[in-house]
Amino acid sequence: MIQLILKRVALGILTLLLVSALIFAGTQLLPGDVASAILGQNATPQSLAALRQDLGLDLPAWQRYLTWLHGFVTGDLGMSLANRQPVADLLWPRFGNTMALAAYAAIVSVPIAVLLGLAAAVRRGGMFDRGINIVALAFVSLPEYFLGLLLILFLSVQFNLLPSLADTYSGMNFGDWLRATTLPALTLVLVTVAQMMRMTRTAVLSVMDQAYVETAFLKGLRTKRVVLRHALPNAAAPIVNVVAFNIAYLITGVVLVEAIFNYNGLGRFMVDAVAKRDLPLVQAAAMVFGAAYVILNSVADIAAIALNPRLRHPR
């Protein structure tokens, strides 16, 4: 089992390397020359050439890639072109914000979603299952920004219960922070609960359809007992996968929610950076997102290996 886990970690690292190469290559697609972007209207051919040399832009792409990768591994994310500040100073606080919001949403949504999914699976085809499925479907089908807007309308503008602006700053006390981020978190909770619940239900059901569970039913065991004793241990791995997948979404896919609530997260920051052709920023942010995704997936896989009864007790 240790071997399997090590193998999975190695695979994760390899994937990250490939991701870095893809990001580097991809950002080279963005039009516009970095040197002329910096110099703007004051550019002369001489100053351009000098700056290009200064920035190492005259080197072949693979050399620049290696320099960049080396910097990234050692924690040097480079300088932002537009801001003339170290990328790290700009990026990490926003990444922290993104993680905080993701954590808020995940802490609320994961238990609810898994429980609802289990409950729906247990009562497959029943009123509860059907009802909750329709509700979940409605939430999955609404664009998230529209959901956010409805929440603002009712909770913020109409009844003034919560702020529509996720205005956070360093040194804020926790209570204020919770209040400020509740609406965006709630939007994300609604979207991910619906999603996760549906996926959990599917995962549990597919386990329940397997032969040995059928056998357990045939032996006359009660549904609850079958689910808890037989189906759940085997469904654990897929459920962990579902959860990891949704947390990855909470970290990497919330640009629109950040935009609606004016939340200072990494997603919105990255969109700005793309618009400004600020390559070091785009690369660093994409790398952070990629790493988050790879790490979450690896963790989920390792958890699956650890949770799998058959792998735990090798034949």
Binding site: A82, V157, P163, S164, L165, Y169, S170, I260, K276
Partner: protein
């Protein structure tokens, strides 16, 4: 206010003497004053003012040379003072310059420096500080956006500890107005760390996250009487207009700038806020780069100018909160407005005629549009697309993202949308956007005759003659320039009814970007 008033009267007299009774009429007639602000109220001290401002970016800083959007400009006015100030009636008022005296030909101006003013770090304001601050914008190597404006200062010298002199390359009766440019702000001599600004302004920067938020506290030793009422100001950058309006409607901020024209009538129904509508020189532009592709041919430019239905644009995109434009940047409220120039109308036939002159049967062009130019710009582009079709012009709209629009698209795309905030004088407006040497000539239109006449008009003390030349200049831009200017838009802000001291202002949103200094919080 009395102290201020008397010095104003003095300077005004002197100004008039120098400018030979220039007679700049006020813009007050163009202003609509919301009822709640008409009555006098007693100012109150204290409270934290929260402002939701659109027009900020993570690249913002306090470098007075590069201020280019609403958030940095508003924040700069909280931190720094100018040399002069434009009041709500579009009149120049003393600020760090206490009074001034021009020579008879308006070429040499002597300014008295206000005494007893200190910077946030306790240092007293001196003539050297002012020289340093002005010199930031001078010389070929300067990175200042006001470089071309400052280019007319051939010399800036210290006369005594309390006086400095500005020598111009040619006479300019409007110099005090020119000094109101928001780039001409005063920092201590040798100051360079723009992330930790030190000024003489009403508020001191406490914390700063560019493009996100900033917090200022009151400068307890601020020199200007009857200002800086609130204890602290929090600026929250909200670029998205929907998010900005939501924040206002849910009462999270006390004021927001740049309202959505489309929903302003609906917003007005909210009893907790007031809409402040100020007419001024703000105008919206469709910019053709006169050096690029088909736009180098004036026939094409004329064809495009006749292909837009201005009336429809004004009523639809601006909901009537503005005035028709005549392809030049001078508003009807300006004393030098060319009233005799016939209003250009929507005329597909004329448009076709000009296309034919250009040797074209049809025209396929792409317009770069973004709501960064103004709220509703993309809709305006779509309306233009509809009316242009009748002239055989096929317009495709390239919707650009708001972020990065000014650095990536403006002045770079062959056909793009933009806007100009008004300037206090016609000369300034014409110089900054249309003179050949201006760094912000956003149509790259170069016309030697125009440049020469512009300089000629600048030094003239004969008002009638001056008006004649300015009319000519407006016509040149209208008939030859690269900017199609279909409309002027009013400045629209929303402020909480809890705010006192709010007035309209002909220069920019938020009372000439000085709202924080002037307002107070009721109870």
């Amino acid at each position: 206010m009395s102290q201020n008033k008397s010095s104003f009267d003095l300077s005004r007299r002197q100004f008039i003497a120098g400018a030979a009774g220039l007679g700049l009429t006020t813009l007050a007639s163009g202003l609509i004053v919301p009822s709640a602000f008409a009555q006098e109220a007693t100012p109150k001290r204290g409270g934290v003012l929260k402002l939701g401002i659109g027009g900020g970016s993570t690249t913002d800083n306090f470098d007075v040379r590069v201020l280019n959007d609403w958030v940095p400009v508003n924040q700069a006015y909280m931190t720094f003072n100018g040399l002069v100030e434009i009041d709500k009636d579009n009149m120049v008022q003393p600020e760090l310059f206490e009074s001034w005296e021009p020579s008879a030909d308006a070429k040499e101006w002597t300014f008295k420096i206000r005494q007893g003013v200190t910077f946030h770090n306790g240092k007293a304001l001196t003539a050297e500080d002012i020289l340093y601050s002005l010199n930031l914008h001078r010389g070929e190597a300067s990175t200042s956006a006001a470089r071309s404006t400052a280019g007319q200062f051939t010399d800036v010298v210290k006369v005594s500890d309390t006086e400095i002199k500005i020598v111009l390359d040619s006479g300019n009766a409007d110099l005090p107005y020119i000094l109101s440019d928001y780039h001409f702000l005063i920092v201590p001599e040798g100051f360079e760390d723009w992330t930790k600004p030190i000024g003489t302004g009403p508020f001191v920067l406490e914390s700063y996250e560019p493009g996100v938020r900033a917090r200022f506290t009151r400068n307890e030793s601020y020199w200007k009487p009857n200002t800086a009422w609130v204890d602290a100001v929090e600026v929250i950058v909200i670029n998205d207009i929907a998010a900005r309006t939501n924040a206002m409607m849910s009462g999270q901020v006390h004021a927001i700038n740049q309202l959505d024209f489309k929903t302003v009538d609906l917003l007005k129904r909210n009893p907790n806020l007031e809409v402040v509508q100020s007419a001024g020189g703000q105008h919206f532009t469709f910019l053709m780069d006169c050096t690029q592709s088909v736009y180098a041919d004036n026939n094409v430019r004329m064809a495009i100018k006749y292909a837009i239905d201005r009336e429809q644009l004004l009523t639809t995109a601006l909901r009537g909160y503005g005035k028709l434009g005549n392809d030049h940047p001078i508003p009807v409220t300006d004393p030098f407005y060319a009233a005799d120039l016939p209003q250009r109308a929507y005329d597909p036939e004329k448009s076709k005629f000009y296309l034919k002159e250009a040797g074209l049967d049809a025209l396929n062009i792409e317009l770069s549009a973004s709501d960064a130019a103004f709220s509703g710009a993309v809709d305006a582009a779509a309306i233009f697309q509809g009316t242009a079709a009748a002239s055989g012009i096929t317009l495709s709209i390239k919707r650009e993202p708001s972020d990065g629009y000014w650095s990536n698209v403006w002045m770079k795309a062959p056909f793009s949308m933009g806007y100009w905030g008004g300037r206090p004088t016609a000369d300034q407006m014409l110089t900054i956007a249309y003179s050949s040497t201006s760094a912000q000539n956003d149509t790259h239109w170069k016309n030697e005759a125009f440049d020469a006449k512009l300089i000629e008009a600048r030094a003239l003390l004969d008002n009638a003659k001056r008006k004649e030349i300015y009319a000519e200049l407006q016509q040149m831009i209208s008939d030859d320039g690269g900017a199609m200017i279909p409309m002027f838009g009013d400045y629209l802000d929303a402020v909480s009814t809890k705010l006192g001291g709010v007035t309209t202002h002909p220069m920019f949103n938020f009372m000439g970007a000085r709202l924080a200094e002037k307002v107070w919080l009721e109870a």
